[in-house]
Amino acid sequence: MHAGATRIASWPAPAGGAEMAVLCGPEQAAPLLLLPALFDEGNKLRRFTLDLMRALAGHGIASVLPDLPGSNESLAPLEAQDLGLWRQAMAAAAAHFGAIRGLALRGGALVAPAGLAGRAYAPVAGASLLRQMLRARIIAAHEAGLEESTDALLATGQSQGLELAGHRLGPRMLADLAAAQPAPALTPIAPGDIPGPGLWLRAEPGENRAQAEALAAVVAGA
């Protein structure tokens, strides 16, 4: 098996049941916990995230990418999740796989287990993610001839939750996002430190192997 081969594993979620994770790199080493970008950005960066794991393996660094409950292959309902539950889930995954350092991508820095040291690539505040998803919804409604506003949507969201960018978010998730800041224990890597525009900016999912290699080199300290 070559260094960049990926493996699939399951881990016990705190809420019960099993969640999936992708592993890559040397099996004997403690893996880096990869904290994925959230929601729409997670889709756009999924391929980049796996490219990054393969590039890290090239530096001899093992990594593990757990599904956030309610996303990807998870059977848990997304609407029942909040950032605190995601933090607990990531802590459980870190314990299960023996990860002692983390690497967050974008909003992944909002769900890092407390005190986990490591790096955060282009970390973003929860309020920015929320604002962008609200804005997309307002623009789509406007095109359909409906008028929605941020204030009215948030008021509805507080009691009933909201469908944003195709994701059904519960009231607690919305409240958490409005206040969440990237985990201070993760040292930021600025977008400008990696050549080229970030793939989360893109309208559609893309890929950029060179960018994944550049980020892996920064993380590896090469």
Binding site: D40, S128, R131, Q132, M133, R135, A136, R137, I138, I139, A140, H142, E143, S149, T150, A165, P197, L201, R202, A203, E204, G206
Partner: protein
């Protein structure tokens, strides 16, 4: 300031839409954006506006976002130029 605004807006459009630089460099003021570029759906418009806010240091209100703002490249440059003058 308008030239600088024009240049930065082309860069942001290239970054967000993943269009090659020569395509974006070929935009003129009548080039249609929203409704003309298949890449520019509601999520992409939201991303584009957020990126414009961050890079220009301006705030775009909900009620300023309508079809006309992004009808053409020229309309977008005019809007951002006016916003920057307001913020200065």
């Amino acid at each position: 300031m308008p030239e600088q605004t024009d240049h930065l807006l082309r860069t942001i459009l290239a970054d967000v839409l993943g269009l090659p630089q020569p395509v974006v460099a070929g935009f003129d003021e009548d080039t249609g954006l929203f409704g003309h570029l298949p890449e520019l759906d509601s999520m992409a418009v939201a991303g584009l506006l957020t990126e414009i806010e961050d890079r220009f240091g301006i705030v775009i209100e909900d009620d300023e976002v309508d079809g006309e703002l992004l009808a053409t490249f020229g309309a977008l440059v005019a809007f951002v130029t006016a916003k920057r003058a307001e913020a200065a």
